[in-house]
């Protein structure tokens, strides 16, 4: 909490200070060492526009309710809007913060600078009631249109038991029914042009190909998609609100259910953010175990993608083979963690248990057999000419568009952008591994699949390196803030016993501060921005998921195509609705 000085050691910050003058900013030190600057509401758009050439991607935009925060950073008022920008070429990030008061809760909209700010700003308005002046369509996005209040405000109840018992009388039911009526105008679509009357087709929220509860309102001319408007929120479970209620440790199982195909990959982003806040160093064995499990889950998630991708273009069989492989994978994961899809197995400071005896044989059998099976699937699915006809040149976008819309992960690499956090900003020990980053070049549905298929082979390579070089040593850090805390000396002195008792019953107290930790998850960049107010739980848990921006881009790439193309596009995006709605 200090005034920004002219020499911060960060060229981007220096450049900003030179351009806008030092008094315009207040720097906030954070444990994750990401440059964090407070800027005034009047200047924020100028600063963002100035930063855009250098930071082409708006990674995240979210709100914080600061009203109950004890360790408020300098510059904070009632609410904060945070802009998290990513510079891919220079591998750097910057955070900008704007403070607003409850009485004057409004910020200018950044939609003109980054198109993907649209949904993020809608979400922030939905959750905090922060207005974004100039926003084209500031409606609720995750909560139903009839919701009263803004759910992530600290004064909004978190549990049903804090509210009046729910009842649905006739009047309320009518109002809800009325709100469900589809009026094309509200969705920004015209009913007809001079010579064509459009048909509106409601695809979802229950439809075999939307992979969960996702709804797209389609404006059709025959079978040609004139416009498509995605509607999300049907899978919203308030994970971020729950984060404020659980302890640091007991939130781990909730993370599993964000990208429910990614399993412990979600744990990784979360525990690493907590470890950054607490300053915990993880021992080598734990690092390698984590990487091995994360890559196993990457394969598992990509197998589901692969099978459903083929299925959605009408090929019946591949999905059965891939689910059989996934089942074998779950066998290994179950032997190691005891869980299957949601093991909740990573811990703050390490992992829950050591590897069981015989784990290496299981893993070796799997990675030895998998390449031949992938070759088989290549012939069966990817080389099939009908599948190619259905997906090549369908739903393509350029690298530039992908960056503008916040697309990350394999969907970004399919455009030829050579960027993978595991290699370019190695975390958790990835710098010790050899692997390649597969790239596509056309950015179409087919390339998005090609990149993922190739990533499975690279993951097998990483797992083999884990297998051959698994270090000996402890599987959890010897740090007092880990969960469960170290127990060795508890029965010898009362001090340690008290600490142990408190850390077990209430959970550890993580030092106040803010940190985020972006990782290369199965579907793109997943990041948890955690705010600790020096308590046993998070003050604010922001979950940045890769699926959210991907859905926002669907209209752009599906206009003018046919319904079957839209299905192929949806299949190629690889999203999970829980990852979108949280």
């Amino acid at each position: 909490m200090q005034q920004a000085h002219a020499s911060s050691g960060n060229t981007t910050v220096d450049d900003l200070l030179a351009r806008f003058g030092a008094p315009a900013f207040i720097a906030q030190p954070t444990p994750d060492h990401t440059a964090t600057l407070w800027v005034s509401r009047d200047q924020v758009l100028d600063v963002l526009a100035h930063l855009k050439p250098r930071f082409p991607m708006l990674l995240d935009l979210f709100g914080i309710d600061e009203r109950l925060r004890e360790h408020k950073p300098a510059g904070a008022a009632d609410f904060t809007v945070v802009y998290h920008l990513l510079n891919i070429a220079g591998r750097e990030e910057i955070r900008l913060k704007v403070a607003v008061t409850d009485a004057d809760c409004s910020v200018p909209s950044a939609v003109g600078i980054w198109p993907n700010a649209n949904w993020y700003e809608r979400e922030t308005w939905d959750m905090y009631g922060i207005e974004f002046s100039g926003h084209p369509n500031l409606r609720r996005i995750l909560l139903p249109p009839t919701w009263v209040g803004h759910a992530l405000r600290k004064d909004h109840p978190a549990r049903a038991t804090e509210m009046e018992p729910f009842s649905l009388d006739q009047e309320k039911q009518d109002a809800e029914q009325e709100a469900l009526l589809f009026k094309p105008e509200e969705w920004g679509m015209a009913r007809a042009t001079q010579d064509t009357e459009f048909m509106f087709l409601n695809l979802g929220p229950n439809h075999p190909s939307v992979h969960g509860v996702f709804r797209i309102a389609l404006q059709l001319d025959g079978e040609v998609v004139v416009d498509a408007v995605p509607d999300i929120g049907y899978h919203h479970r308030g994970a971020e609100k729950m984060g404020e209620r659980q302890t640091w440790h007991s939130f781990i199982p909730y993370t599993d259910r964000i990208d429910y195909l990614g399993g412990v990959m979600n744990n990784l982003a979360y525990v690493m953010a907590v470890e950054t806040l607490a300053g915990i160093k993880v021992p080598d064995r734990a690092k390698v175990i984590r990487i091995m499990l994360a890559e196993l889950f990457r394969i598992s998630s990509h197998l589901v993608f692969y099978g459903t991708f083929a299925q959605d273009v009408g090929q019946m069989s591949p999905v059965f083979y891939m689910f059989a492989d996934r089942e074998r994978l779950f066998g290994i994961i179950e032997a190691i963690t005891g869980g299957r899809m949601h093991p909740a197995w990573f811990r703050v400071g390490g992992v829950a248990q050591d590897l069981p005896r015989g784990w290496d044989r299981l893993v070796r059998e799997f990675i030895d057999s998998m390449p031949a099976r992938l070759d088989h699937y290549q012939v069966m699915a990817m080389d099939n000419s009908i599948l190619k006809q259905r997906t090549v040149d369908i739903g393509s976008y350029t690298t530039q568009e992908a960056l503008e819309w916040g697309i990350t992960g394999p969907s970004l690499r399919a455009t030829g952008m050579d960027f993978d956090l595991r290699r370019d900003r190695p975390y958790g020990g990835y710098d010790q591994f050899e692997f390649e980053v597969p790239l596509g070049h056309k950015g179409d549905s087919y390339d998005r699949a090609v990149v993922r298929v190739e990533e499975m082979r690279q993951s097998l390579r990483i797992i083999r390196q884990c297998l051959d070089n698994m270090p000996e040593g402890p599987y959890k850090s010897d740090h007092r803030l880990t969960t469960p805390p170290p127990k060795e000396r508890t029965l010898q002195d009362i001090e340690t016993l008290i600490h142990h008792f408190l850390n077990v019953s209430w959970g550890p107290v993580i030092p106040a501060g803010e940190a985020s930790f972006p990782i290369e998850a199965t579907k793109g960049i997943n990041s948890y921005h955690l705010v600790s107010d020096g308590g046993t739980g998070s003050y604010r848990t922001r979950i940045r998921t890769p699926s959210f921006p991907a859905l926002q881009q669907i209209p752009l790439i599906s206009r003018g195509l046919m319904i079957p193309d839209l299905i192929a596009i949806i299949a190629s995006i690889d999203f999970v609705m829980a990852d979108v709605d949280r």
């Binding site: 079978e223 273009v313 009408g314 090929q315 019946m316 059965f320 059989a324 009908i386 006809q389 259905r390």
Partner: protein, 318 residues
């Protein structure tokens, strides 16, 4: 055969065809299971064969519901049309030298006419449902059937030229020396494709297209009316296999074994092949399917027609 015998045999064929189609639903699932590394229905009775009975009981017990927004009369009529048309077509199929219901000199035309009528079922079902997905399914089926009907008839003209008759018995007899699948391989190929399209099974199941149109034309159907559509589809598969056997694989002809057994074996092998197709091939897009029909299959059929005619004339001249 006396008239009474013919009626008796006709009734037998109806029961056998419907029973065969029902067993086919189970058999297909088992066969797909084998190819997809899984079991399929294997719980009820030997190899799960009683699954058919369980399915029937379930469908019979379903509420016989007509959506209030549907066109009631047409909605009820639609599923019967396909079953009736398919069953009638079986009348002209010669199962053995003396095993047939009708031997008319326009047998082939009768078959083509009846299968064309089946289109109405899908089309009317889609329209009467008054549902957007069903409408799209109905539209697709109309376009698909019309385009594939064209070369379906034409693809068989080569067979007619070689045998010199529209009677299915004569066509089989004409294959004593050589099955038509050899000289008419293009005809066989195009007829097979048209046949799958007619029975709208997986690579060509666009009117239904689960992944795009939820259930296409029969989205609003349930219970026995839905079962009629399914029955019609499987009767169609059985019929197409019978016709391919008759027209291209020498029908009941074959050494040692009794004729009806030869016929059944050939039909069985073809059914397995069709199930394999369903397991292996993705679904082309609607416009790609149209393009395939008009730009590839139709010219190919016409070419076959010209070549067959030319060769037939040459041979006659010699």
């Amino acid at each position: 055969m006396s008239e009474l015998d013919t009626i008796g045999f006709g009734l037998f064929i109806i029961v056998a065809a419907v029973g065969g189609a029902a067993v086919l639903t189970w058999f297909e699932r088992r066969l797909l299971g084998v190819w997809q590394d899984r079991y399929g229905p294997n719980r009820l009775g030997p190899f799960g064969a009683f699954q058919v009975l369980a399915d029937m009981l379930k469908l019979l017990n379903k509420h016989d519901w007509v959506p209030p927004f549907a066109d009631r009369a047409v909605f009820v009529f639609a599923p019967t049309a396909i079953v009736v048309a398919m069953l009638l077509s079986f009348a002209v199929v010669p199962f053995g030298p003396d095993l047939y219901i009708l031997d008319i000199n326009i047998g082939l035309l009768f078959f083509l006419g009846m299968t064309s009528l089946a289109v109405y079922s899908v089309l009317l079902g889609g329209l009467a449902s008054n549902n957007k997905y069903a409408l799209l399914g109905g539209l697709r089926s109309a376009a698909q059937m019309v385009s594939y009907e064209v070369f379906m008839g034409l693809s068989l003209m080569g067979v007619v030229m070689l045998s010199g008759s529209f009677s299915l018995r004569d066509i089989v007899e004409a294959q004593r020396d050589l099955w038509f699948c050899v000289p008419q391989f293009i005809g066989l190929f195009t007829f097979m494709i048209a046949g799958i399209a007619e029975s709208h099974r997986l690579p060509f199941d666009l009117p239904e297209a689960e992944h795009e149109l939820t259930a296409g034309f029969h989205t609003e159907y349930g219970g026995m009316k839905f079962a009629m559509f399914m029955l019609g589809e499987y009767l169609g598969l059985l019929l197409i296999c019978c016709m391919i056997t008759t027209l291209f694989f020498g029908g009941w002809l074959g050494p040692w074994l009794p004729p009806i057994l030869w016929f059944s074996l050939k039909v069985f092998a073809l059914i397995c092949f069709f199930v394999l197709l369903r397991a292996a091939i993705p679904r082309p897009r609607y416009d790609q399917l149209m393009a395939l029909g008009w730009k590839v299959m139709l010219p190919l059929t016409l070419l076959n027609l010209v070549l067959t005619g030319a060769i037939a004339l040459l041979l006659e001249g010699v």
